[in-house]
Symmetry: C2
Subunit: 424 residues, 2 copies
């Protein structure tokens, strides 16, 4: 299977240099980027007036939560969770979750996302959807034991069941990760066990850390140290750990994350909407920490649009620091692409020979993306998910000219409406 | 001329209540909103799966600046202006400005904007474009005298020439406003003269006020008072004044604005990108000040998308105040619609009988806008300009199902590329 993308503006290489070029894909790799490629290909895509961009890596989300989009906004976190989200989640069956996962996958494909790191429950259902959708999924069952040993045992069991299920699918694209929810919802025993199991099975770990001031204070009160110091002290951290949020980090935390090679998934939209706070992104980058970008779930964003998320990241840090040079377009673009890929150990996020063919073709024949003064700037500051026309993952076309090929848009939208109706 | 919009979800009345209804437009007014309207109409639009929303009022922009989109980002304000914007603006002819205005008008129509308050130069050219586009424009020639009496005379002359030109067009949709640039670039003499002329000719005034800390400090140093106190002391303020930005306002300033019935045009995207600061929106609203929403120019945003701007407003104030209840969806939606209309003295911004037929039809058959849990929330938190399919202004269809009827999209994009090429 080969694809030739002709006449586009390619955001090329690590330097993100826009060049007029064709892109040849063979199997699941980019094999050639050059002008006037003459090779034959099974599919030829005309990208005139389009930008060929690395696809986006959503490094933190809860993909089935699109079902709850807009159900409750503008509320304090605990009221939102206790009155609106948890009562509905308590009623969610495997089938409900699967519908939510379909909606999430559809939304991601439409907006040029190629890979995502997910945490939720009924993750076997999410894995089935991921396989069918063509996306790359890194799927964690969200474990919460609240210090209860019996519950811990159940959570470990469910995680391992999910791991076996996902491994059994035998797909490179669908991967299990361990997903202990957070230091304030998980016991030290659970966290230690997860670390051991991750080593044993060669799996990555994702966990919420230091999202809110309240949570950080709670941990400090309970353990006499910050969440990051706590995790470091029990030997939990490592290159295979991706922490979500990392809003309330002090200098010592940042040094620890850097020393351990931990990746931080930044979620500006969610942190803003839930009023969690502003992540110290410049300090993290200065310390050499790998920072990726995520949308968080659609209940707290309220979409899974990584192009919009890039703008939020760039703008938030400028105003927060009263410094317009912070979080420049290229830095943010890399967070949304190559940094995320690196965290997931993917040779992707860059358009260049030998990289995985995970990319998005974006229609720039639109007034808000003209003149073509600076394409990376336009992607970060002016484009949105609806500008994406074609999404390619692992050398397969998931969406072509706006039409999703792997999933039925109409059917999924219809199922989503019916599902939420039943959860009222 | 009549239009019947059938089967849509209508964001109805001042309460923004979504109802399934048809909307009948006759002439330039909404005459009926009800289920199953049977009247004949010249044009029938099927809005199944669509949301019929008040169109958006962009209360502060520099519409021709789309030409400079992305030319320079992530820079300190003065470097951006001195090295990138001003050298190019110095070369801008009337024809260049007109091309920029075409691009801006096209972008606004495509994203459901129905009216805009503009400040730039060559505003006669912008007026011609506004007339042709079908939009409602409130057009100010940006006056700057820097305390030079000779320059002041020239600026007044150009403003009056622009006023005569625009009044000569004889269109209700195309309106002149006075646009003294700012207290730090205009002499007191110029500001007094503008106030006098505005009274004489019954025109509104728009002016940048307290956008940056530096500017506010400069005025305080020069005059021993804040920009707002200064303007109040010379009798400049009134219900016909719309100040742009209002970022650095203290409690006394806010009381003065409230007492004078001044409207503030909030520009969160620009204030974030240029790192100007965060407007005290909640204090302004608590004091009863009318607050509208604007995108500012596309050189500092970098688009004219009011749907995106609503999200930026809602998110910015939540995180800045560490309070998720601030700037809720309905409050922000009103800023972008009825508050802007009110500032411009338009009986618009609301879908209800007898209001002006200025509206947008937005396609909700998209995964990021489903399930239909809360349509106003989806418009604020998840939609973007590309979701708009149909834009109606003054009872005339400017865009239908994504196709702009009043302007040639292809031609304008082509002209914009050629124009910026010549300004390198």
């Amino acid at each position: 299977m080969s694809i030739l993308i002709r006449n586009g503006h390619v955001i090329y290489g690590e330097g993100l240099k826009p060049v007029r070029a064709d892109v040849l894909i063979e199997g699941n790799r980019i094999v050639k980027v050059a002008r006037g490629i003459n090779e034959e290909a099974d599919t030829v895509i005309d990208a005139t007036g389009r930008v060929v961009s690395p696809g986006f890596v959503n490094l933190h989300t809860h993909s089935p939560m699109g079902l709850f989009r807009g159900l409750a906004d503008d509320l304090p976190l605990m009221e939102w969770l206790e009155k609106h989200i948890w009562p509905r989640e308590a009623k969610l069956t495997r089938e409900h979750t699967k519908v939510g996962a379909y909606l999430g996958a559809l939304e991601m494909i439409k907006a040029g996302t190629v890979a995502f790191l997910d945490m939720y429950f009924n993750m076997d259902a999410v894995a089935e959807v991921t396989l069918e959708s063509g996306l790359r999924g890194y799927l964690g069952y969200g474990m919460i034991d609240l210090g209860d040993p019996e519950r811990m045992e159940k959570e470990i069991k469910e995680a391992l069941r999910t791991m076996d299920f996902i491994d059994g699918l035998g797909s490179d694209r669908v991967n299990f990760v361990f997903g202990p929810h957070a230091p304030y919802t998980c016991s030290i025993a659970l966290l230690r066990e997860v670390r051991k199991l991750a080593n044993e099975h060669g799996k990555m770990i994702t966990i919420h850390v230091s999202e809110t001031m309240a949570e950080t204070g709670q941990i400090t009160e309970r353990y006499g140290k910050s969440p990051v110091v706590l995790l470091d002290d029990i030997g939990f951290l490592g290159r295979d750990v991706i922490i979500a949020h990392g809003v309330w980090l002090d200098s010592r935390d940042i040094q620890i994350l850097a020393r351990n090679g931990v990746t931080v998934a930044h979620n500006p939209g969610s942190n803003m909407k839930l009023a969690s706070g502003v992540m110290p992104v410049q300090k993290l980058l200065n310390a050499g920490v790998n920072v990726g970008l995520g949308t968080d779930g659609a209940a707290s964003n309220n979409n899974l649009d990584m192009l919009e998320e890039m703008k939020l990241a760039a703008l938030l840090h400028k105003v927060h620091n009263l410094d317009p040079t912070v979080a420049d377009a290229k830095t943010v673009f890399k967070m949304a692409t190559v940094n995320g890929a690196k965290a997931l150990r993917l040779n992707a996020g860059v358009i260049k020979e030998d990289y995985l063919a995970d990319l998005a073709i974006i229609n720039f024949n639109r007034p808000h993306l003209r003149p073509l003064n600076n394409m990376v700037s336009h992607l970060v500051y002016s484009a949105n998910g609806n500008d994406v026309e074609t999404t390619i993952v692992d050398g397969k076309i998931l969406m072509l000219d706006g039409e999703v090929l792997t999933l039925s848009e109409e059917k999924i939208i219809d199922m989503a409406e019916k599902t939420i109706g039943g959860l009222g």
